[in-house]
């Protein structure tokens, strides 16, 4: 296992009182996987990441990161991990090449080797064209790639990426996904946080869904969606009749459970195709005519909704 934690906890004192940011997180991240931490802002993702990266001390619990004990040997953890923070990490007046060489040297790498690795990283991340320009002249996507390159220049076993694609345009985002997959293919374990459902779904081998400082679900995106099982039917209707429609549909044998959503009802059923005709008939008897009807496979948002009672899109 690349990361194992038991009952990791952290609270912060604020003016309003104590906030339990992370309350007992158990994690197991395997070697060579892309592990995603999915959750809304304030769920405790970044705090957990910062604890695992030795930036803040846990209040309780145990963790082993890349084979080193987090509490007793944070220095060894630092040598073995890379960490890319959310908000950037470069001096404005310095070039990417200078940053990469310094970063490598801070890990104890000699000057010549640092320069070799820098050139390799510049090539790999397609930064060579502007490697000698000041960082302040880079675009958001270019800066983000420099940040990631800085995080892996010392060839760590695992790299933590805190919201690697937040604020990027779609093209830079796709580019970043490719970089992350390339790193995984080179054998680096990736631990990333995201609040994008599609990112967790498309990029991650395994995810943990976090909410309110706790892990509420863990598994591959496929497994998590299968856990919900069956299909999701969304019936569009005006807000006034939603409750009545749910009352009718909740009595039906094919309904697993229902949720009120914006402008309609979301229904979790065993088999969508066969239950839709029954559904329409029952509603018709009750005098309800849905404005639209949509059948889809469960998404990670449905998983989040099922586990927390809220939609990730709303929070």
């Amino acid at each position: 296992m690349m990361i194992e934690t038991t009952a990791l906890r952290k609270s912060f004192k604020t003016r309003g009182g104590t906030v339990d940011a992370v309350r007992g997180v158990d994690l197991a991240v395997a070697d060579g996987e892309i592990f995603g931490f999915l959750g809304p802002n304030g769920a405790g993702k970044t705090t957990t990441l910062r604890m695992l990266a030795t930036l803040i001390e846990p209040d309780g619990g145990e963790a082993t990161v890349a084979g080193a004990d987090l509490r007793n040997d944070p220095g060894e953890v630092r040598r073995r991990i890379g960490y890319v923070a959310q908000g950037g990490s470069t001096w404005d007046e310095v070039s990417a090449r200078e940053e990469l060489v310094l970063q490598a040297r801070l890990y104890g790498i000699g000057k010549a080797e640092a320069q070799r690795r820098t050139q390799r990283a510049l090539d790999a991340f397609q930064l060579t064209d502007f490697a000698d320009r000041k960082c302040k002249t880079y675009s958001g996507g270019q800066r983000r790639r420099v940040d990631v390159a800085l995080g892996i220049i010392h060839e760590p076993k695992i790299v933590f990426l805190d919201e690697p694609t937040t604020g990027l345009d779609p093209q830079s985002r796709a580019h970043m996904w490719d970089e992350v997959r390339r790193l995984r293919d080179e054998g680096v374990t990736i631990f990333l946080t995201t609040h994008y459902l599609d990112e967790a779904d498309a990029l991650c081998d395994r995810i943990s869904i976090m909410d309110g400082g706790e892990v509420v679900a863990e598994g591959t995106p496929e497994d998590l969606k299968r856990e919900i099982s069956g299909d999701v039917v969304t019936l569009g209707m005006s807000g006034g009749i939603v409750d009545k429609a749910r009352e009718v549909l909740d009595r039906e044998p094919y309904t697993r459970w229902s949720e009120a959503v914006d402008d309609g009802v979301r229904l979790y059923v065993e088999a969508g195709a066969t239950s839709i005709p029954h559904m329409l008939r029952s509603l018709d008897v009750a005098g309800i005519e849905p404005a639209s009807i949509e059948l889809h496979r469960p998404s990670l948002d449905d998983v989040f909704l099922a586990k927390t009672g809220r939609s990730l899109r709303e929070s």
Binding site: I56, T90, W91, L102
Partner: protein, 256 residues
């Protein structure tokens, strides 16, 4: 060994940031000249008037230059924390903290940059004062520069430690000003404290910079044996050590 290497790496980066900023270079050279040419002639006349004309031009500058150097050491290094706050915002502090780099080196790389730039400014003032009448032995003046280096190391460490605590320019500026002004007034830099009432003189005894000014003046006057010299060196060494330890711990701990 690792500490020295890490410190050197971070010092190089910090120093290159200074050299890349033409504004800093110009300001760093012009500021000391203000003291020398806009305030020096005035003080010289004031001191000579008080001593009924017995004070020579050389005496005046031996009184004035060490005071100006200490003042420059205080004000050039007291506000360095501001730069750290913008580094915190840029994320470079966090990036360095996840590397195995020595936490003490994170402080020293910066503080030594501050010491080197200060000593350059001090050398400039001293050399330019020679044609104006300043005299002194090289050895004594180098010892005075050691005293100035201690002040710079101590105050820049404190400034960084406080910046790591406050994390906002808005909080840092009034705090530093509130602490800095009484330090300056009670150091006898501008006028000797012999003119001050007793209670003020007694209060000034608790100001380490008042000792530093007395020590530096003794050295510029060619009296390295004056007890103020060793006393000021000891007091500042102890305070510098405490400040460096505190600041290095802040770099290790700084949360968020």
């Amino acid at each position: 060994m690792k500490l020295a290497r890490d410190t050197w790496l971070l010092f190089q980066r910090q120093f290159s940031l200074v050299l890349r900023n033409p504004v800093w270079i110009v300001v760093g050279i012009i500021q000391p000249l203000y003291y020398l040419f806009l305030f020096g002639p005035l003080l010289k006349k004031a001191l000579q008037a008080q001593s009924n004309g017995e004070l020579s031009s050389s005496d005046a500058y031996r009184f004035f230059v060490p005071g100006v150097l200490v003042q420059l050491a205080i004000f050039a290094t007291f506000f360095v924390g501001f730069a750290l706050i913008s580094e915190l915002r840029a994320g470079v502090i966090e990036r360095t903290r996840v590397t195995p780099v020595s936490r003490l080196a994170m402080l020293l790389g910066r503080s030594l940059r501050d010491v080197v730039t200060l000593l350059f400014q001090c050398a400039l003032i001293t050399v330019l004062s020679i044609p104006l009448g300043l005299t002194g032995r090289l050895g004594d003046i180098l010892l005075a520069f050691a005293l100035l280096a201690l002040i710079a190391l101590m105050l820049s460490s404190l400034s960084y430690a406080v910046a790591l605590k406050l994390r906002s320019e808005d909080a840092l500026a009034p705090l530093l000003n509130t602490v800095g002004v009484p330090i300056l007034l009670l150091s006898g830099i501008l006028l000797p404290l012999t003119y001050a009432p007793h209670w003020l003189q007694n209060t000034a005894k608790f100001n380490p910079f008042s000792w530093a000014v007395d020590g530096a003046r003794a050295l510029f006057n060619g009296n390295p044996g004056d007890p103020n010299v060793w006393k000021s060196l000891v007091i500042l060494s102890v305070l510098t050590l405490l400040s460096v330890v505190w600041a290095a711990r802040s770099f290790a701990k700084s949360v968020r």
